[in-house]
């Protein structure tokens, strides 16, 4: 057994390592080292805590860790890069569920201690967490109860929310926003009811209040995320990420464990910032995204004149052969069609021909923050030609050819030109400023937001219809 001093020292070391790990993600080269900081930090944290004073239960602990590690390794090896969003959402749900369980356990231990105190006043020997609870004063126990309530509530919302997000991202649940009749009133009702239950619990009601509380929170998480559409998923996933951190921090308070608090707070605040960045990229506020749906527009959207002109692979190829500079703008459609390696081959060929090829990535392209970057990296596209919106937006005007692959709203000029458009004010990639724009798209449908895209009707736009991967594969042999 290690002394408490050892454990505390380890906790400090682990906290520092976690901070370094997050901070190290500022560029691709440092990031590879940063992950190791995280891994070592986690190993130190778990190892020293498990070997600390008064832990026990190793008969359960060790096999569970081994089994969990096995499953985790399997998942991480097997997952396709296009499935990353689902995986992250699924993993969040685990944290949420674990938080609920731990909080329940904490209350059960509290009850055991109180029962023992009431029975004879003689302090019996408690093991593990109960031993800590036994040393607490009454006012500290009240605070412990508040923390338990918070832990359960946040954890439960995270759990069902993540499960639904997983379902939507994996296509197992319909991606359209859907709510039960009553809409947000149901959520509000459930929240009020939860508050009532929490008050009853603080006033000494039984353990059933906590179970009911968890069920209500499960419902809120489910209903909240059901009401959010597929394109808002980058925000949802990072928000759930944030919640899982807050849940961990709440549990840290319950268990009086600083390491949990620090780590939970780090994760919680980082998730919150990420959500903020995503919302800013869509020019929408956070509440608006979470409550679902676009704000009402102030008038009829501008009429679109002109026609969509189709083009075949030969036409695209000859334009590419003549071009000196090319920018590719990928979107969720590229992920759906699994077209990233075809894109990569195209890029290699164009670059071999001495053309300047770059990628323009909108912050909310795809279903996860940074989703497109990971897919392109998987297809071995060098990261230094993959630029973000602010870096590349002024270069479109001097670009010969832009290829838009499976994105729609993020290249919609209506966001800037039509004040009545539902997405007015959203920063978009100004692809229409290029000399020529080719849009690879399945058919004439609208994007997630259901808005017509005037880009498709512009004079310098040509529609390259068909499945993105097949289109690119027919295009490849024509490039020289």
């Amino acid at each position: 057994m290690l002394s408490q001093g050892f454990v505390s020292a380890a906790a400090i070391a682990a906290s520092v390592l976690f901070i370094l790990s997050l901070g190290g993600l500022s560029n691709q080269e440092k990031a590879k080292r940063a992950v190791w900081y995280g891994i070592v930090g986690m190993a130190v944290a778990v190892g020293f805590t498990a070997l600390g004073p008064g832990i026990g239960g190793y008969g359960w602990l060790i096999p569970m860790v081994l089994i969990g590690a096995g499953i985790g390794t399997y998942l991480a090896r097997k997952v396709e890069m296009t499935e990353m969003p689902q995986l992250v959402a699924a993993l969040h749900s685990f944290v949420g569920l674990a938080a609920v369980f731990v909080a329940w356990s904490a209350d059960l231990e509290r009850r055991r201690v109180l029962a023992a105190r009431a029975a004879d006043g003689v302090m019996q020997e408690f093991s593990a967490f109960a031993a800590l609870v036994a040393t607490k004063a009454p006012d500290e126990l009240t605070f412990l109860q508040i923390e338990v309530v918070l832990g359960i509530f946040i954890g439960a919302v995270t759990f069902t929310g993540s499960v639904i997000a997983f379902g939507k991202l994996a296509g197992k649940v319909d991606g359209k926003p859907r709510q039960l009749p009553g809409g947000h009133l149901l959520n509000a009702g459930a929240a009020v009811l939860s508050l009532v239950l929490a008050v009853m619990y603080l006033n000494g009601a039984g353990f059933w209040t906590l179970i009911l509380l968890a069920l209500l929170a499960f419902f809120i998480g489910y209903h909240l995320i059901m009401g959010i559409g597929g394109a808002d998923m980058p925000v949802v996933v990072s928000m759930l990420n944030s919640y899982s951190g807050w849940a961990a921090a709440a549990i840290g308070f319950t268990l009086s464990n600083d390491l949990l608090i620090v780590t939970g707070a780090l994760v919680g605040s980082s998730g919150a910032i990420l959500s903020y960045i995503m919302c800013k990229a869509m020019n929408r506020n956070f509440v608006n995204v979470i409550l679902g749906g676009f704000g009402g527009s102030q008038g009829p959207a501008a009429e679109i004149e002109g026609e969509q002109v189709a083009i075949d692979a030969g036409g695209v190829a000859s334009a590419l052969n003549d071009a000196d500079s090319v920018i590719i703008v990928p979107g969720y459609g590229m992920a759906v069609a699994q077209a990233q390696s075809a894109v990569s081959d195209l890029v290699r060929k164009l670059r071999a021909a001495g053309k300047e090829v770059r990628f323009g990535i909108h912050p909310v392209a795809g279903r996860l923050p940074g989703h497109m970057n990971v897919l392109l990296a998987e297809a071995k596209v060098p990261y230094d030609i993959v630029l973000e919106m602010d870096e590349i937006n002024d270069d479109f005007a001097s670009t010969d050819v832009v290829i838009v692959i499976g994105s729609n709203d993020i290249v919609n000029p209506a966001a800037q030109e039509d004040p009545n458009s539902p997405i007015a004010g959203m920063p978009v990639l100004k692809v229409w400023e290029a000399k020529q724009v080719f849009i690879s798209k399945r058919g004439q449908g609208t994007g997630y937001s259901g808005i017509e895209n005037p880009l498709f009707y512009k004079e310098n736009s040509r529609m390259f219809y068909g499945d993105a991967r097949e289109s690119l594969n027919t295009l490849l042999p024509l490039i020289d």
Binding site: L22, L25, Q28, W60, M64, M84, G370
Partner: protein
């Protein structure tokens, strides 16, 4: 149908309406092609080339008029040519119906249909047959080449061992197709190019070609989209302002290329005698509007004039013809597109569909009736562009004032937030036990660090960041570890499950992050 191309008889005209290449395409539409002997000679296509392409070479115009059902040519028909037209025959050429009413009446009387290539409406669908644009493009290019020919210096600035050469300054007036082509050519030769146009909405196009747009601060600017993308006459006040702007440029620029035309009117005089006097000797003015009277006072059509102070004024009107091969290739393609629209079934039968916007617009006589001017097309030429408002640059004082104000607002907000936060902490401290407050300090500091650290993470690493924070949030395992040694069976089971799923989270999260980061590579 038999399509016959006439030899151009206008003096100096070298273009031809049919090339061997376009003949091949027309044959695919089911037509038969004829050409008058020697018609393509000046443009670099001899009779043999046409014969190889399957074109019948006919001796003399009379034979051609007799044989062909559709006659194609470049220039408007001469009296003789119009005389040879017969009923039911179609003539496709430039025509200028507004200026040639007598000719129009003659063709009508003959019963021939005339399609005027200069009347093709300006809509997207008709771009491929817009011969005015393709000729203007050539004119713009050639104008710069002619200017270079007469200009005694380099276009591009150079620093050589023999001294420094400043770049030539070129001013282009009128940014239509010809103007833009001139801008593009001059910039690619390395000149410093400025351009002016009365339609403010073309400023973007000017800037995209690499020139500087001379912005005129004037309220009453016109909306080019109303007149189908062409310029219309401007008010006297506007004109004064415009001339003032040019006068300021005159002393500076080396080459002036004017392309200002207003449909159906003589060209506006924009480069006055006094401006020419201000220019440096050896400077060149190329007036692309010479045929319509010229934009410059000194311009004489088809001549090269040298002013008293040594400024060369070029007033040639045959720029496209000076590049006859290129011009013929483009013009023949425009004609070919027109004919393919006239042959919808691709079976060699011409259907003169007067319901079609493009065909209707270009047809000036049909079935012994004059059909000019056409009704406005059903599709508007160009979407109305909102006039671009030039934002006023704030002065340094204003800027500083704004910055100070923003800084003050920020300070107030931050101090306010801190005060509110402090009060809340104080209240919390009153009720919460001391042990809680200790943890709370740690919590708040950790949140702060989190905020500071994440701002720096690069966009492209957001997915790895999510995966890492996800793995780290598996720290919840500590909670379960602390409880797993409990005496209560329920607690042990709950804790065991928590350990299991938290471990999946940790291991899965870290491994997948490593996998992702390994993929990122530099080129």
């Amino acid at each position: 149908m038999k399509i016959g191309a006439l030899k151009e008889r206008f003096r100096g005209e070298a273009r031809v309406a049919l090339t061997p290449e376009s003949a091949g395409q027309l044959q695919k539409l089911g037509h038969e092609c004829l050409i008058e002997t020697g018609a393509g000679m000046a443009a670099g296509f001899d009779d043999e080339a046409y014969r190889t392409a399957g074109v019948t070479v006919v001796e003399g115009p009379t034979a051609l008029f007799d044989a062909a059902e559709v006659v194609i040519k470049v220039r408007e028909p001469s009296d003789e040519e119009a005389e040879r037209l017969r009923e039911g025959q179609t003539l496709i050429s430039f025509f200028w119906p507004a200026q040639n009413e007598a000719m129009l009446e003659k063709c009508r009387a003959k019963g021939a249909s005339v399609i005027a290539m200069d009347m093709v409406p300006r809509i997207s669908r008709a771009q491929k047959m817009d011969a005015l644009s393709s000729m203007a493009n050539i004119a713009g290019y050639r104008a710069v080449i002619e200017a270079g020919n007469h200009f005694g210096r380099f276009f591009t600035g150079q620093v050589t061992a023999a001294g420094k050469v400043p770049p030539a300054k070129v001013l282009v007036i009128g940014a239509g197709v010809a103007g833009l082509a001139a801008i593009g050519t001059a910039t690619s030769l390395g000149a410093v190019v400025r351009a002016f146009d009365v339609r403010p909405e073309v400023s973007e196009q000017i800037e995209s070609m690499g020139a500087e747009f001379l912005f005129l601060d004037f309220d009453d600017t016109q909306d080019g989209s109303e007149s189908g993308g062409y310029a219309s006459p401007s008010s006297p006040e506007f004109r004064e302002k415009q001339l003032e702007c040019f006068r300021a440029q005159a002393a500076e620029v080396d080459i002036v290329i004017t392309t200002a035309l207003i449909p159906g009117r003589p060209a506006p005089k924009l480069w006055l005698e006094d401006m020419v006097a201000l220019m440096k000797p050896g400077s060149v003015i190329v007036d692309l509007a010479a045929e319509k009277g010229g934009n410059c006072d000194l311009t004489k059509p088809d001549e090269r004039v040298v002013s008293d102070n040594g400024v060369i004024v070029i007033g040639y009107t045959d720029f496209p013809s000076r590049m006859a091969t290129q011009a013929s290739l483009l013009y023949a393609t425009n004609i070919r597109h027109m004919l393919s629209d006239l042959t919808p079934e691709k079976d060699g039968v011409i259907v003169h569909d007067m319901e079609d916007d493009v065909i209707r617009g270009a047809t000036v006589t049909h079935r012994s009736e004059i059909t000019f001017p056409p009704p406005p097309p059903k599709v508007k030429a160009i979407a109305a562009a909102k006039p671009k408002k030039k934002e006023k640059e704030p002065t340094p004082e204003e800027k500083r004032a704004l910055e100070t104000a923003a800084f003050k607002a920020q300070t107030t907000r931050q101090v306010g937030l801190l005060a509110v936060g402090g009060v809340l902490m104080l209240l919390l401290g009153q009720v919460a036990p001391a042990s809680f407050m200790q943890h709370f300090i740690v919590f708040v500091l950790a949140c702060f660090i989190g905020f500071q650290v994440i701002w720096k993470v690069s966009h492209s690493l957001h997915t790895p960041l999510m995966a890492v924070t996800n793995a780290i949030s598996g720290i919840i395992i500590l909670g379960a570890v602390l409880q797993i040694g409990s005496g209560s069976a329920v607690v042990v089971v709950l804790a065991a499950i928590s350990v299991l799923i938290a471990t999946i989270n940790i291991v899965g999260g870290f491994l997948v992050t490593r996998r992702m980061l390994a993929m990122f590579q530099k080129s």
